[in-house]
């Protein structure tokens, strides 16, 4: 995808996800049915036969379909009736896909075999899991040698989640109690700028996109990103939307925060190396400071507080953290391989 394609602005879009282009038979049928009218006139297909041992992280058709079904619970899709959100066939299909994706990840994520009963123990285990593995790092690449075009691609990938930053973890709040709930509110309030619109992290990210002449509309680049980028989001939504996975979503948030401060400084350094100013780096500068606070609260009070209250959730907390790390590594490895080969990390899309 050329940089000219990246900066195409759509006319005054609403806040909904623009209807993406299908990537296979399932998404073709699902998106076609969603756009054809409200529920009741048609039902969505089942996907009960999906094999969880196939590489669902890289499955374009499955990830796009799941992403769109989950989006019904966020901002909705352009030209799709909101009533689809709770249509039984939409819920059944989402569950088929989520069950397969969760089973796939549970077979792939390694979780340390530890005993952790106190909040301090849990934080220590999580900080251990997230300590730099020396694995693939997009942030290090951006700091040292990314070109402006490659930096813009990295931001395009990030935009899929960052334009709804914090929302998947907010689902957890009503499912938590006590210390963990207070911690979730403390972190999420900061993510939302303490209620100050311009400080909201998703708004700071829009400012960065505009500084790079990228489209800051919600979902603008969903068609451009591959399955693995979508998978980083669909896992968060899966863990956030299902109450039974409240351990996983808190573990995910802890791992996410624990792998943010230092990489954020690397992103900002890379941007300054490329001559970009504060309007571009502001989002990342903010995360250097904010996530050094959030990682402490998320590890100890949120995830640790949850395990103290519900000790049987330790395994899920660690699974959520491990899945976060695995998906980040898979995405980084894929994008870096593309950059190494001198090609684009984005999908070819018709503009």
């Amino acid at each position: 995808m050329s940089s000219a394609t990246l900066s195409i602005q759509r006319p005054a879009a609403g806040s909904r996800l623009p209807l993406p282009a299908a990537r296979g038979p399932l998404s073709e049928q699902v998106l076609g049915t969603l756009a054809a009218g409200g529920p009741g006139t048609a039902v969505l297909p089942s996907a009960a036969g999906i094999d969880p041992t196939s590489d669902l992280v890289a499955d374009e058709d499955v990830q796009l379909t799941l992403f769109c079904l989950q989006e019904l619970h966020y901002r909705g899709l352009e030209d799709v009736d909101d009533a689809w959100e709770w249509d039984v066939s939409a819920i059944a299909l989402r569950r088929d896909l989520e069950d397969a994706f969760e089973a796939h990840l549970r077979g792939r994520v390694t979780v340390p075999d530890v005993v952790a009963t106190t909040a301090d123990d849990v934080a220590r285990v999580l900080f251990g899991m997230t300590a730099s593995s020396g694995g693939p790092s997009l942030a290090r690449f951006v700091a040292r040698k990314a070109s402006l075009a490659q930096l813009r691609e990295v931001l395009v990938h990030k935009s899929v989640y960052q334009l709804k930053e914090a929302d998947p973890h907010t689902w957890a709040i009503p499912r938590l109690t006590g210390r963990a709930k207070a911690a979730a509110v403390e972190i999420q309030a900061d993510e939302y700028g303490g209620g100050h619109l311009a400080s909201m992290h998703s708004e700071l990210f829009r400012r960065t996109l505009r500084a790079l002449d990228l489209d800051d509309h919600y979902g603008a680049y969903v068609d451009a990103v591959p399955a693995v980028t979508l998978a980083t989001s669909t896992f968060m939504s899966l863990a956030g939307l299902n109450r039974r996975l409240r351990g996983a979503i808190t573990g995910h948030l802890a791992a996410f925060e624990m792998t943010s401060s230092i990489p954020s400084r690397q992103y900002a350094d890379g941007m300054r190396r490329l001559g970009l100013g504060e309007d571009a780096t502001g989002y990342f500068d903010e995360h250097v400071e904010a996530d050094a606070v959030h990682e402490q609260i998320a590890g100890r009070d949120l995830a640790g507080g949850l395990v103290e209250a519900e000790p049987h959730l330790l395994g899920d907390v660690l699974f959520g953290a491990g899945a976060c790390l695995l998906l980040d590594d898979l995405a980084a490895a894929r994008h870096l391989a593309a950059f190494d080969a001198g090609t684009s990390s984005l999908r070819e899309v018709a503009a």
Binding site: A131, A182, E186, S261, E289, A292, V293, Q296
Partner: protein, 78 residues
């Protein structure tokens, strides 16, 4: 965990000091340090590039807090 009226400081193992509540952080010559959020993390490893705040550097510079901390038998927030 959060001090509504007073100030509470949490000693994070091998990490910063979290400060919650209405603490004024001032420089040695009495100027107030701008706080961007209600809860801040103060660097105590010495390695942060955004001092007085923590930037996560303590995780990669080997900083440890071997705390044989003496605790009083009263807990806060009761």
């Amino acid at each position: 965990m959060s001090a509504r009226d007073g100030v509470e400081m949490t000693l994070c193992p091998d990490g910063p000091i979290l400060v919650r509540g209405a603490a004024h952080i001032v420089t040695s010559d009495g100027r107030t340090v701008a706080r961007n959020r209600p809860t801040v993390a103060l660097c105590r490893c010495g390695g942060s590039a955004i001092k007085p705040f923590c930037d996560g550097t303590h995780k990669v510079n080997g900083f440890t807090t071997s705390d044989g901390i003496e605790v009083s038998d009263t807990t806060v927030d009761d």
